[in-house]
């Protein structure tokens, strides 16, 4: 395993540099082919998104591999190395494994835990597979990376909290109502923002959408988008208690809902809760209404606060995710060393099997014709002799292969048994 990775990301490079190194999708097969044929890369993969450009390769030597891959990037984009030097990072061996795991698990993303990156990595992998630049090493690495990403998502809550205004509204609604099925949402003011928020709520299962607007025709228009119901301009307060969720974004300069309206609503609704999202500036709903029991009012700043808290929550969860990544890196390394040791074990077995066969042939000559039972006894005896002799060296080889510091011991064992490298 001689893995190298060279690249840059939103953490190291501004967008004007990132866009210079972007690999457009149609050019990827050609680029991969170039990487494999002209540079020292037996296997290769390119991840190019708006936040990062990374080239991953299996090369024959790691320090030289980093130079080769860096050259490839500079030459392909015709950008001199000097201008890139300060923005590029490179990893070799185990650090590549860790980095790839972290990227796939969205621990290196601009918005921690955002889910798109895993899809992008998967696409990059498929593209490289189709271009024929994925071999055993990258195949193992990437499949493990997908597994790690899945583990992080299911064992931590890093990706479960909302980090956009619309999703924050949905998340809060679920903290109040649990299930949005059967719930009614009322849109006050048919604007872009309220439409977007309503779309997310509808996507989360809200059953009925009511639309009210200063001009009735516009209300009808938006109601049609949601197959909902438009409310006549003067009828607002005859319908308002039907709404479990109210999204307000009118252009009104004064409050359109005050505390008394809230109390009346809750009374008519027999205390069933109401969630009011006021995204209008200036605000549509008197903040006093939040003091009414069973009414929960969030304005645009409140939603931003929730998002900030969610991001901090993701930060905390990232620590558990990093622990998972570390476990997986160790495990991956252990397995890859075991794979490295397997050839030695196979050669050792083959070596002794050859000796056994030689000696058997010689004995048969001297003993003359044997009965089947005698033949079997001879076979069993030599076989078990070899097995017993090799048992300890082989288990020792397996044990030693788990740690890289034992590489010298493995070489010694090979030398003792007269095995070639």
């Amino acid at each position: 395993m001689n893995l190298v990775l060279v690249g840059l990301s939103h953490k190291t490079a501004p967008v004007n540099i990132r866009e210079k190194l972007h690999f457009p999708e149609p050019q990827l097969p050609e680029a991969l082919e170039l990487l494999r044929t002209r540079y020292d890369a037996q296997e290769g993969m390119i991840l190019s998104t708006c936040n990062r450009v990374e080239v991953l390769a299996q090369t024959s030597d790691s320090p030289e591999g980093v130079r080769q891959v860096t050259d490839f990037i500079c030459n392909f984009h015709k950008v001199p190395y000097d201008t890139l030097q300060q923005f590029l990072y490179d990893f070799t061996q185990i650090d590549v494994v860790r980095h790839v795991f972290r990227v796939a698990a969205s621990l290196d993303s601009m918005v921690l835990g955002e889910p798109q990156i895993l899809g992008q990595v998967k696409t990059a992998f498929t593209t490289a597979q189709n271009a024929g630049t994925i071999g055993a090493t990258l195949n193992q690495l990437m499949n493990r990376a997908f597994f790690v990403a899945k583990r992080v998502r299911s064992e931590t809550t890093i990706a479960s909290s909302a980090v956009s205004i619309s999703y924050a509204a949905v998340e809060l609604a679920k903290k109040i109502f649990n299930d949005l099925k059967g719930k009614t949402v009322l849109i006050l003011g048919a604007g872009k923002m309220s439409e977007l928020a309503a779309k997310h709520l509808a996507g989360a299962g809200v059953s009925k959408v009511l639309v009210w607007n200063r001009t009735y025709p516009r209300a009808i228009e938006l109601a049609e988008v949601f197959k909902g119901e438009a409310i006549q301009t003067e009828d607002l307060f005859r319908h308002i208690e039907r709404a479990d969720i109210i999204i307000s974004s009118t252009g009104s300069p004064t409050f359109i809902l005050n505390r008394a309206d809230g109390e009346r609503m809750i009374h008519l609704r027999k205390n069933r809760p109401v969630f009011i999202i006021d995204i209008a500036v200036p605000r549509d709903v008197d903040p006093e209404i939040n003091k009414v029991s069973n009414i929960f009012l969030y304005d645009i700043d409140d939603l931003r606060n929730v998002i900030d808290a969610n991001l901090r929550q993701r930060q905390r969860e990232a620590q558990s995710a990093e622990e998972i990544v570390q476990q997986e890196v160790d495990l991956f390394l252990e397995h890859s060393r075991a794979r490295d040791a397997t050839p030695a074990i196979v050669t050792l077995r083959e070596h002794w099997e050859a000796i056994r066969q030689d000696e058997l042939a010689r004995s048969r000559k001297r003993l003359g014709p044997l009965t089947t039972e005698q033949e079997e006894a001879l076979e069993n005896m030599t076989q078990s002799l070899v097995n017993k002799m090799l048992h300890h060296p082989i288990s020792e080889l397996k044990r030693l292969s788990r740690h890289s510091s034992n590489q010298d011991d493995i070489t010694t064992i090979k030398r003792i048994f007269g095995l070639k490298e």
């Binding site: 205390n271 069933r272 809760p273």
Partner: protein, 272 residues
């Protein structure tokens, strides 16, 4: 045998206690599956403990503090397991496991002084009176826990500054629903328990209604829960106020169960 199984039970329940502690300290779900297994096995062992004592005494082993605490803990675990099967609420365990552990531990520490009940006190009403009350109390404890979870989550939502509880606790609707369902199981049990007690007293002591503190407080509890359920059905009393009433109701239940235990006349004769 009964003592052996009760000791085994306390060992298994202690895993649940550990889970609650770690979850509160680390603010992360810790050891939940292990704790659930501990509680599940503990429940079986607990059942066996009660069964053996029952066989030994030839009547339900609930006639002294030891038996009462043990049975109460058993009822709470039962109520928890039913709620868990229905709602999958992991946060409920943080409330339930410590109380269950403390009750079982107390039962363990008080050695059983149960002797077969006097002949005149034995009746079907007795067998109904105490177990139904305890199961009712267990249901009220679930309502109490749901009420606390509701108040915490409501505060998080009203303050608009989400902290750990916001993420870990269930939605308001779930808390409210769980609380109400627990009440609608607990209230009939409480009613049956009180009526059975009166009938039993009538038969065994020839006086149906001794006004000892325990009876008075039980009636107050009954009244609180009756009002709560009545207003829920008639005018939709729910949310914060319902949660508060469930909490107050259970606090009175606890007082009835502990402080007023030995003061009265009718309810102290069993130990004598």
């Amino acid at each position: 045998m009964s003592t052996f199984f009760l000791r085994l039970t306390i060992g298994l329940y202690s895993i649940g206690l550990l889970h609650s502690f770690l979850t509160i300290i680390t603010r992360k779900k810790t050891l939940f599956r292990v704790a659930m297994a501990g509680i599940g096995l503990g429940f079986i062992s607990h059942g066996l403990s009660i069964l053996f004592a029952w066989v030994e005494l030839a009547h339900p082993p609930i006639t002294d503090n030891h038996g009462a605490l043990s049975f109460f803990a058993f009822g709470i675990v039962l109520a928890f397991l039913i709620s868990y099967a229905r709602y999958r609420l992991e946060s409920l365990s943080v409330f339930v496991f410590p109380l269950v552990f403390i009750l079982t531990l107390a039962a363990n520490l008080i050695s059983s002084s149960q002797t077969p009940l006097q002949e005149r006190l034995r009746s079907l009403w007795f067998y109904i009176h105490i177990p139904t009350l305890f199961l009712g109390y267990a249901a009220f404890f679930v309502a109490f826990s749901a009420g606390i979870m509701y108040l915490i989550q409501e505060r998080e939502l009203k303050r608009k500054r989400p902290q750990a509880f916001y993420y870990r606790l269930p939605s308001l609707e779930i808390c409210d629903d769980l609380g109400y369902r627990a009440l609608s199981v607990g209230f009939p049990l409480l009613t049956v328990g009180i009526v059975a007690g009166a009938l039993w007293a009538n038969r065994a002591l020839s006086q149906p209604w001794g006004w000892d503190p325990k009876i008075i407080w039980s009636l107050i509890t009954w009244l609180i829960y009756a009002i709560l359920i009545h207003y829920r059905l008639s005018s939709g009393l729910r949310g914060r106020r319902a949660a508060l009433m469930s909490i107050i109701g259970f606090v009175i239940v606890l007082l009835t169960f502990t402080f007023f235990r030995n003061q009265g006349s009718a309810h102290s004769f069993i130990q004598q």
